[in-house]
Symmetry: C2
Subunit: 259 residues, 2 copies
Amino acid sequence: MIKAILFDISGVLHVDNAPVTGAIEAVQLARDEQKVVRFVTNTSRHTSTDMLQSLLRMGFDLSMDEVLTAPGAVRLVLQQRHLRPYCLVHEQLRPEFADLDQTSPNAVVIADAAEGFNYENMNRAFQLIMEGAPLLGVGLNRYFRQNDQLQLDAGPFIAALEYACDVEAEILGKPASAFFQTAVTSTGFAAEEVLMVGDDAFADVEGALAAGLRACLVQTGKYTPGDEEKIRHPGAWLCRSVVEAVHRVVNPSDYYSNK
Amino acid sequence: MIKAILFDISGVLHVDNAPVTGAIEAVQLARDEQKVVRFVTNTSRHTSTDMLQSLLRMGFDLSMDEVLTAPGAVRLVLQQRHLRPYCLVHEQLRPEFADLDQTSPNAVVIADAAEGFNYENMNRAFQLIMEGAPLLGVGLNRYFRQNDQLQLDAGPFIAALEYACDVEAEILGKPASAFFQTAVTSTGFAAEEVLMVGDDAFADVEGALAAGLRACLVQTGKYTPGDEEKIRHPGAWLCRSVVEAVHRVVNPSDYYSNK
């Protein structure tokens, strides 16, 4: 019995700037059926505040304390360890780290920097890591879909620096188990009572299953036919969209009785 | 008994634009002692012709047919397979591929593109590979030293695309065994009679040992103390520079009798 749902945001609740058909009602249905809902994202082109506001503008009903972002997790770790970050992040994400000391950096933070991923910035990050700075990443997401094109996310650039420096990045967003565990704890339920709904077979589905959650891959956003075959853990659901995912949570007998 | 020597060029024979002290004489000594010499490089900021001319200007004695470059190996494969490459390479390397058809690309070639490694170009390469284009790389070199700073080489950007697309690149330069084998064949000797001299523990030393050659790591160029501990195959030599490497080939008893 699923008691809480973690929704990935981009590609699941909305694509580009439009809500996925029926997504607003699906989130509302989950609430009406007493499911705890959380919004968990590695998206790092916007601050948590910007993301909340854009979802509210699209018509979703949610509050700030229901949103968990990977950049937020990174910020917390930087503060806890008193690290001074070199932030290779998107211009629009800079406010998230603006009040941290960034002089003489002794840590490297990689998020989806988009055009910020140029040779000069990558070299700067590389040189700092070679001097001993830890490499912190929002997530290992490979790509996302925007304006009907696949675009590189932060993961590949983190992989580049890991390879260059022969180090392993600390991933603080999905698919890190610690990130899912924080989200699960916030719901008050056990991991196996929580369903992650995402469009990324690796970061969302594999990550959640590895952390002991249930997981559903939706065929919207970055989904490409065959992605489900890349999932190595058993038990993932495959749904057409978030609408079907929520219906399956609410009416499980419709899905199990015929199979 | 070593009968042929493969010299890596940048970081071994010269650093920035100056020959390593004694390197010109060391190459000459090898020739005087009837050793066959070859110059093998993954360097991909210059065409083979440019590279030859700059070594001649520095005072080295060599001819074009003694030079084997990774971009040359890539060019050969593109021609053999009738591929139309998207070349993410340095401006100065473009002439190497200028006479190949590059319209509607169906292959991706990654060399050390330096500032060419921007987000737009990386996305273009990514999208082509996702459509099925093979990923061809000059080498997996992680970094090199220039103007006393470590700089990212092509390897990390290849690793980024491999991770993004869940594919494996075909590496056509060092450390690919096929590349070393081509060099060995050109000498007329067996692999175990050929010594590779390089400053890259992975691409030069590990690669050569894996291909059955002998190998020597020199402490010039990109060498950083401790690099020798990363070599997993046994039997590598560690020399202060190419001068010591050639002396050890020519006077092996000086090195073995005291040990």
